[in-house]
């Protein structure tokens, strides 16, 4: 029970920070719409819906990456990991709280992006929406862990895409092909691994 309230307190803090700064979500929204517009011009006329759907996944992954890069900015700039890991909360609660906040931003961006995609390209179906929802879980759980790694390094913004994109390839496969069972499998495996591993990423001891 305390675990849930710890997670809630941490996630609420992140939503509050975003409400104040208004940086992450607006940039994700603008980015995803701009990307879809680029794709309209990148795709030749009369391209199939399947091709457009493939590009949707590319847009979503890069949008998520944008959000993940910003996820730990406050923690990094003000050394807040020091304060957070000294509290008695389980370290994995810090990961879960952050993953929930990132998920909220990503879903918010998609609530705009998916209808926009449907209007622009007519390639949206129920299965894709379900796949996007499942993929979001995998993206946010793994991405949050790797985001915490990336902010520890000197390269930071540069490092996260390098770490994360190879991990995102199976998500794209599952998403484009609509293999929902595969996405569930991916989410289960890597969410569990991220949950167990986060402690080692933020704490030396």
């Amino acid at each position: 029970m305390t675990y849930a309230s710890d997670v809630a307190a941490l996630a609420r803090k992140d939503l509050l920070l975003e409400l104040r700064a208004k940086e992450t979500l607006p940039s994700m929204l603008l980015f995803v719409i701009a990307a879809l517009t680029i794709f309209h011009f990148a795709l030749p006329n009369g391209t199939s819906d399947v091709a457009a759907r493939g590009l949707l996944w590319a847009a979503l992954i890069f949008t998520a990456l944008l959000g993940l890069t910003r996820a730990f900015v406050a923690e990094r700039e003000q050394s807040m990991f020091d304060a957070l890991i000294l509290t008695p909360v389980d370290r994995s609660a810090i990961w879960l709280g952050k993953a929930i906040a990132v998920l909220a931003f990503l879903v918010a961006a998609e609530i705009v992006a998916l209808p926009a995609f449907a209007m622009f390209f007519h390639g949206l179906n129920g299965r894709t929406v379900a796949a996007v929802a499942l993929a979001d879980l995998g993206i946010c759980t793994v991405g949050t862990l790797f985001g915490a790694m990336a902010v520890a390094g000197r390269a930071r913004e540069l490092l996260l895409p390098l770490l994360f994109l190879p991990m995102a390839i199976p998500i794209v496969v599952g998403g484009v092909g609509g293999y929902l069972w595969f996405l569930v499998l991916y989410d289960a495996i890597f969410a569990l691994l991220s949950w167990a591993a986060f402690e080692y990423v933020v704490s030396e001891v």
Binding site: V50, V142, L145, M149, A152, G153, R154, A155, R156, L159, L162, L163, L165, P166, M167, I169, P170, V173, G174, V176, G177, Y179, F182, L185, Y186, I189, F190, L193, A197, Y200, V201, S203, E204
Partner: protein, 224 residues
């Protein structure tokens, strides 16, 4: 350690000579592909050795996370370093093979080749991570976590690549052709043994070098 390294190197040289002789002169030529099929005896053992390296690296990573022993961190790093070298060679030989068999330098139809591209990207980022973080327990922790993600990513990616062919490439290439004959299989085993010994030797050499570096720097520190 002092005795093991020369012995390993000798075994490696011997096995490699044997492997070359077997692969080019002993193994019967393939009915369909002729001479070019012989790259199989190097390509596949390279790939398997690369898996072994990543697996060993992850095992050492797990050991590090359990005991926080600095040596395990170094061992994990060296194993993954070797894995990336063998992986790059796998990509190279695979590409040559694709050129000979199908006339293209790259084929998305070959699962293993695509998987190695993904793994190559993943493990190159491992080095970026390591070089970007200052040495110490934090870096060792992160490297270990990343190495563990790597071994889990291997089967998941493999499954994903298999799945992807159903919608990207409906045609499935038949790579293996007919079953290996006894002589072919024996040659393959010799080549695999040679490759694994090569890994063990290079691993031992790099590790010894890195450890020497460390002790030298510690010595310098003490003297200053």
């Amino acid at each position: 350690m002092h005795l093991k390294l020369p012995a390993l190197a000798a075994a490696c040289t011997g096995l490699f000579g044997l492997a070359v002789v077997f692969a080019f002169f002993y193994a019967p030529a393939d009915a369909d592909q002729g001479l070019s099929q012989r790259i199989f005896y190097f390509h596949v053992p390279l790939a398997l050795t690369s898996y072994a390296c990543f697996g060993w690296g992850a095992w050492k990573a797990l050991k590090y996370l359990r005991g926080r022993d600095e040596r395990a961190d170094l061992e994990s790093y060296v194993a993954i370093h070797q894995g990336v070298i063998f992986g790059a060679l796998t990509l190279l030989t695979g590409s040559i093979w694709a050129r000979i068999s199908w006339g293209v330098w790259w084929s998305w139809g070959e699962d293993e080749l695509v998987l190695f591209l993904v793994l190559f990207l993943f493990y190159c980022a491992y080095f970026m991570l390591r070089f970007s973080v200052d040495p110490g327990p934090a870096r060792a922790n992160m490297s270990a976590v990343y190495a563990l993600f790597g071994v889990v990513l291997i089967p998941v990616s493999f499954l994903a690549i298999r799945l992807s062919k159903q919608f990207i490439h409906p045609v499935v290439f038949k790579l293996q052709g007919p079953q290996m004959t006894g002589a072919q299989f024996f040659t393959f085993c010799v080549c695999l043994a040679a490759m694994l010994t090569l890994f063990a030797t290079m691993y031992a050499i790099e590790l010894a070098g890195k450890r020497l570096d460390c002790s030298l720097r510690e010595l310098k520190e003490l003297l200053s």
